[in-house]
């Protein structure tokens, strides 16, 4: 709940004036040096602007609370900028790792989708049995009901076996593909290893010869 201000504290006016002057200066610098292509400059400008906007309600609170809020806002904004920079660095670093792991993710996703399909087929069969059981109970024909139940149980069993076979075969195939991929990665790493070793040995040899001549 915010009450209307009885008195406006001069400190706040001073702080707001300093912030506004900073924003104007920042904007002039942005315009003059044409540095809006740099994300850090734009982030600093935007965060200063946000601090100014967020500190306006400070005028309408009590003194201690307002100071507290003001400090909190500043701290949060600084933290926000630091975290944004860290995230940017981390994202650029991890882009290559993401590229590498996306293939493995695709394979996992396909396997998961296929298993979901098999499970839904099994669920459909079970639902059919429930329907038949209900129909049988209403018919009150126990002989007919038991025959129907047995046949449907057999059907469910066979379909479950089929589903499991398909799922198992798919899983075996996919794991073979994944194993092949891992083997390829390992052979690639081995090749890189060889290239590194040869390069370093050659470079060291040339450097030693250069040093002693």
């Amino acid at each position: 709940m915010m009450a209307m201000p009885e008195t406006i504290f001069p400190e706040y006016v001073l702080i707001q004036a300093i912030l506004a002057a900073g924003i104007v200066l920042n904007f002039v610098l942005l315009l003059k040096r044409r540095s809006w292509k740099s994300p850090l400059t734009v982030a600093v400008f935007l965060s200063t602007f946000l601090i100014l906007i967020l500190t306006i309600p400070v005028f309408y609170g009590s003194f201690e609370l307002s100071i507290h809020h003001f400090l909190e806002h500043i701290f949060l904004k600084v933290l926000f900028i630091l975290v944004a920079i860290q995230i940017q660095i981390h994202l650029t670093k991890s882009a290559n790792y993401q590229k590498g792991s996306s293939k493995a993710c695709e394979i996992n996703e396909r396997l998961f989708n296929r298993s979901i399909e098999r499970t839904s087929a099994l669920q459909d069969a079970v639902e059919k049995i429930y329907v038949e059981v209900e129909v049988g109970l209403f018919d009150r024909d126990l002989q007919n009901f038991s025959e129907k139940t047995t046949s449907f149980l057999e059907n469910v069993l066979s379909s479950a076996e089929k589903a499991f076979d398909i799922f198992w075969n798919g899983m075996v195939k996919k794991s073979e593909v994944a194993l092949d991929m891992l083997r390829n990665v390992q052979t690639g790493l081995l090749n890189i290893n060889l290239i590194f070793v040869i390069t370093f040995l050659g470079a060291s040899f040339i450097l030693i010869v250069l040093m002693w001549r």
Partner: protein, 104 residues
């Protein structure tokens, strides 16, 4: 594949050569070459340990370290060479004993 000790001995030899050139040579260019040999030994050590860490598999962490170290080494050598150029223009010599005696 050779055993780990052979690679380690070779790396130690490279390291010793690098330290020797850093300590005993008087020319600044040769000292930089020694630093380069030192970093080569370190990189080779990383590669060897990444190969021998898990039998049958290669650890990619060593490779990533080596790639980062290559980039760092390039930067270090560039800075050192620029210092050498500046020193030569300023003093007219690259002998470290002469550089110490001048005291300017």
């Amino acid at each position: 594949m050779l055993p780990l000790s052979v690679y380690m001995m070779f790396n130690v030899l490279l390291f010793v050569i690098g330290v020797y050139s850093c300590v005993s040579k008087r020319n600044l260019i040769r000292i930089i070459i020694g630093v380069d040999i030192l970093t080569s030994a370190v990189n080779l050590n990383f590669i060897v340990f990444s190969t021998f860490r898990t039998p049958g598999l290669i650890d990619p962490a060593g490779h990533s370290f080596v790639i980062m170290l290559i980039a760092l080494e390039g930067g270090v050598v560039a800075v050192l060479l620029s210092l050498v150029v500046f020193l030569y223009r300023h003093y007219g010599t690259l002998d470290i004993y002469d550089l110490v005696k001048l005291k300017r």
